[in-house]
Structures are given as C-alpha cells and as structure tokens.
C-alpha cells in the first residue's frame, strides 16, 4: 500500500501557520455563533425580560467578529492565485447577513478546502 502523502497547501500561512481557508473557517464559525447568540439569546432577553446588558456585550462582539470575517474572506479571495468564481465571492459575503448563513459558509469553505487540497 502506498504511504499516505498529505496534500500540499497552496496557501500556507506565514512560517507554516494555519492555511488561509482554515482561518476563514474559524472566522466564519465565530461570526455565525455570535450572530445566533445576538438574535436568539441577547435580543429576546432585552425585549422580553428587559435585560439590555446582553445586547450591549454581544452586539459589539458580533460587530468585531463580522469585521474579522470580512477581512479574512477578502484576504483569502485576493491571495488565491487561481481566483475565486464570482458566485463564490458573492455567496461568502451574503452568508454573513443571512441568519444561519454563517454555517452555510462553513460547509462551503470546508468543501473548497477539500477541493483545493488544503487538507482541513
């Protein structure tokens, strides 16, 4: 049986760090989770139980997670020498504004990583 050869990473991180698509996956998971927490925990707590602290904490956290995701996505798109199809570019940003769209993005990024051989 031939020995297992790990796929080469077309976009390795600096000094062998995480590949870009792995960073993008982490950023998408954090963005999607903070949006869910905001929509289904913090906002109901504010309006049903008059507890605004949750929104005050999770709101800015989600804002930061959103900016971090957009930075990572833009970075991954431009850094890819093969270029992303226009539909892929559109859907990755669309996924951030749709509830649960972040998880949809996660599956898409994992598929893309498998296709490009980033070996996630």
């Amino acid at each position: 049986m031939a020995p297992h050869v790990p796929p080469t990473d077309p976009q390795p991180g600096p000094r062998g760090g995480l590949p870009l698509l792995r960073w993008l996956e982490i950023a998408a998971a954090v963005e999607a989770t903070t949006l869910l927490l905001l929509m289904f925990v913090a906002v109901p707590l504010k309006h049903l139980f008059d507890w605004p602290l949750g929104v005050r904490l999770v709101g800015p956290l989600h804002g930061l997670a959103f900016v971090a995701f957009c930075w990572t996505a833009l970075h991954a798109i431009v850094a890819d020498p093969t270029g992303w199809p226009r539909y892929d570019k559109l859907r990755i940003f669309l996924g951030t504004v749709i509830p649960l769209g972040g998880y949809w993005n996660l599956r898409f990024i994992a598929r893309k990583a498998r296709r490009t051989g980033t070996g996630n």
Partner: protein, 138 residues
C-alpha cells in the same frame, strides 16, 4: 467609564492607530516598489509580511476593539461623524486585507503589477482626523 480609564483607553487607541497607519503606508509603498525589484521581490515581501503579521494586524485588531469601547462609552454610534468615520475605517481595513494578500502572492514568487494606494491612505487619514477632532454636528 471613569475619566482616567477613558484617557488610557483613548491613548492606547491612538497608539494602535498610529502603528496601523505606519504599517499601511509600509505595505502601500511595498506594493509600488516590490514589483520593480524582480528577483528580490519575494524575499523582501516575506520580510515585510512578517512585520505585517507581527505588528500591523495586531494593531488593526486593537484599534477596532479600543475604538468600539470608546464609541460605546461616549454613546456616539448614532452620531453622523462616527458613522462617516466607520465607513473610512472599513475602507482602510479592506485595503489592508487586499495589501496583505498581495504581499503573500509576491512572497510566493508571483509577479503582481504595481499598485499605488498611499495617496488614498493619506486622504483617508486626513478625513478621519478631521471627523474625530472636529466631530461635525450634521
């Protein structure tokens, strides 16, 4: 927020922004110069990329976190000057993501065309400074 703590957070925010802008100008100038270096471009871009990863990206993250804390403490989110500033900051953040990606491509040996963005960075800095200091009441 306590007045003393506010001043410390503000000082840290200004420091982080200064470091970030320094890094932005450096990657902007690199984007213009590196394509002219030909065989030395990959080595030079790896060195600039390390500086970018170790200093500029953390400074960008710190600028965002501290800036949000300041905006929340002053309840300024509804004010037009802060919304306008946020648009400029988003532009700078996006520009930085593109520059960092181009550095990575040059480091991998790709030849990228020269890209002159330093005048845009300078113009955005002037606009942000004006908005923050004057806080125009639109």
């Amino acid at each position: 927020m306590e007045p003393d703590l506010y001043l410390w957070v503000k000082a840290a925010h200004v420091a982080a922004v200064l470091i970030f802008i320094g890094g932005m100008v450096a990657v902007g100038v690199s984007s213009t110069i590196l394509p002219l270096l030909e065989n030395k471009a990959a080595t030079a871009s790896r060195a600039i990329g390390r500086w970018n990863a170790c200093l500029t990206i953390p400074a960008l993250a710190a600028s965002w976190v501290l800036g949000l804390i300041l905006a929340m403490s002053g309840n300024w989110f509804a004010q037009a000057w802060l919304q306008a500033k946020l648009l400029f900051v988003l532009l700078m953040t996006g520009l930085h993501a593109i520059h960092s990606a181009r550095l990575r491509r040059i480091a991998s040996g790709e030849i990228c065309p020269a890209w002159r963005t330093v005048p845009l960075v300078a113009a955005v800095c002037i606009a942000i400074a004006g908005l923050v200091v004057l806080k125009p009441d639109w």
